[in-house]
Amino acid sequence: MTSQTLAVPLISRDGYRPGGPFEHLFLTEYARVVGIAYRVVADRDEAEDVAQEVFWRFHRRYPDGREAAMGWLHAAAVHTALNSIRTRKRRVVRELTHFADQALTGAQGGPDPAQLAEQDERREQLRAAMGRIPKKSAWVLALRYGGLSYQEVADALGVGIGQVGTLLRRAEITLRKEVQSGTSQ
């Protein structure tokens, strides 16, 4: 094993600076981090909450916003999103609000509430299945369907790029079986 010298930056350089490298990274990567979380939580507000937490943790760990830590950022998005779907309280409140909105929209001649309810049910099935399948499967699915390339998925998972296709294929089969078994229950 080898040791790597790690220079811990000074606080004067660490501090948040408008227009600094962290801000640049945030603006360029925000949509991808939300996109990854969105594939897990299937809820826009919740995905944005996850992204806030991920970038906050990222800033604490890599205050200079180094791009070499991109894999960490993407991995943290999945990790935090999977944790988020285990805590349902806030989502229940949101869903009640969403349900009330739907009813109001229907009364005003908007999209069919039955269709919206069906869409929500599908989302809930996906979310539940992502929470039940093995963690590694959920990770590779969220990263790939969140828009990352195979190389970026490999970087986030810490595996060789040649393994990603195999992991993804297995994960897809696992997820479909899980969704089907959830639907038939």
């Binding site: 040791s3 010298t5 948040y16 760990r61 990790h79 599908r122 590694k136 479909r176």
Partner: protein, 387 residues
């Protein structure tokens, strides 16, 4: 040539140019591979359907504006322990490596005492701790002190930890024997090793002066010989064994107080994942200095603005800094008591919830730790049973 693997075909579906050369020529002439490719594409489309979600329009600038106050506030509250906290920072991953977590645990024990260990430095003389002394510290005490990097530059080797397949392999890698309890808990024992490493701090008088000018808060002048002097804490190697549970629970307990808005609840949550038993043996850390003496450091620290009278009293009470290893105990979240273990002096540290505890002692130049969901008597009983 053999048929293309499922993984290669799956990637080819998404990234058509990923298959080249002989593999591509095989695919072009192989109907079996082409049929599998087609079937795989249809299955991938089904999965894609599952992930079809309404398009969302995001406003990254608005999201950044929402995060900014939190970032600015955090910067204003940075503690001088932050460089170490960053080394121990949470890492995401499908499976957190045991070795990496061992590194965090060893650093918690050996290097979290870093600012106090500065007191143990002596000119060109190695310091070797032979006993442990608790230093109760309130988090507010640390927040009020000037930040460590106000005075110079901190550098550390990245902890290099790994899992070991067995106690024998851990011994071969580190030269340290893994202790065995008389009644090991049920469950799989997992072994981990940590290479030796170091953390070093170099004092810089000009930087300290610049920080003082910038903040408008004067600092005491550095004593002769301190400017440019480097104090180094060397730690490791170490071995550890974990029985049952999740070792991540321990790191959670260790960092809960600084990582959560509700430290007590975070400690309880983390402790639920605690392993049944953790044993750790590490070479006692040593401290060297290229210039500054222990007495100079102690005097300089005691002159710092913001040092509470309570903490000053505890620092003065450390006693002989050349043989004692100070272990900060955050008194908001934990308690400590001197105990007798394996016939010598040791320290029991427990969290305030009573969920978890650890006994620490130094023997024959080695730091020993027994940790788990223990009271002091339970932890001592396990420690005394080790062979």
């Amino acid at each position: 040539m053999a048929h293309l693997s499922d993984g290669a075909l799956r990637r080819m579906h998404d990234e058509a140019l990923s298959v080249t050369g002989a593999a591509r020529r095989h695919f072009d002439g192989c109907t079996a591979c082409q049929d599998r490719y087609t079937a795989m594409g249809e299955e991938a489309a089904l999965t894609q359907g599952l992930f079809e979600l309404p398009e969302i329009n995001l406003d990254p600038h608005q999201a950044l504006a929402k995060l900014q106050p939190r970032l600015v506030k955090a910067d204003s509250q940075k503690s001088f322990l932050d460089p170490i906290s960053r080394l121990l920072a949470w890492s995401p991953g499908p499976a957190r490596p045991v070795g990496l977590t061992l590194a965090a645990v060893v650093l918690t024990v050996a290097v979290a005492a870093y600012p106090m260990s500065l007191l143990a430095a002596r000119l060109q003389v190695l310091n070797q701790a032979t006993s442990i002394v608790p230093v109760p510290v309130a988090y507010s005490d640390l927040q009020d002190l000037p930040k460590l990097d106000t005075f110079g530059t901190f550098q550390a080797t990245k902890p290099s930890g790994a899992e070991a397949a067995s106690a024998a392999q851990a011994l071969a890698k580190t030269g340290l024997h893994v202790p065995v309890p008389a009644n090991p808990p049920a469950g799989v024992a997992r072994y981990a090793v940590l290479d030796s490493g170091h953390a070093a701090f170099t004092f810089n008088a000009a930087k300290a002066q610049a920080s003082a000018d910038l903040s408008g808060k004067p600092l005491p002048p550095m004593p002769t010989g301190m400017d440019g002097s480097t104090v180094t804490v060397a730690y490791g190697p170490a071995v550890g064994v974990v029985y049952g549970g999740s070792i991540a629970g321990l790191a959670g307990v260790a960092t809960a107080s600084s990582a959560s808005a509700d430290p007590t609840q975070a400690t309880i949550d983390a402790a639920k994942q605690l392993p049944a038993l953790i044993l750790l043996v590490a070479k006692a850390p040593t401290v060297t200095s290229t210039g500054v003496t222990a007495k100079q450091l102690e005097n300089y620290l005691l002159k710092q603005p913001g040092l509470s009278s309570g903490l000053a009293k505890e620092i003065k009470a450390i006693g002989d800094p050349t043989t004692q290893l100070p272990i900060p105990v955050p008194d908001d979240y934990g308690t400590s008591q001197q105990v007798t273990v394996q016939g010598g002096q040791g320290l029991f540290i427990g969290d305030n919830t009573g969920i978890a505890g650890a006994v620490i002692w130094i023997k024959n130049g080695l730091i020993n730790v027994v940790a788990g969901p223990f009271s002091s008597s339970e932890a001592i009983a396990v420690a005394n049973s080790l062979s």
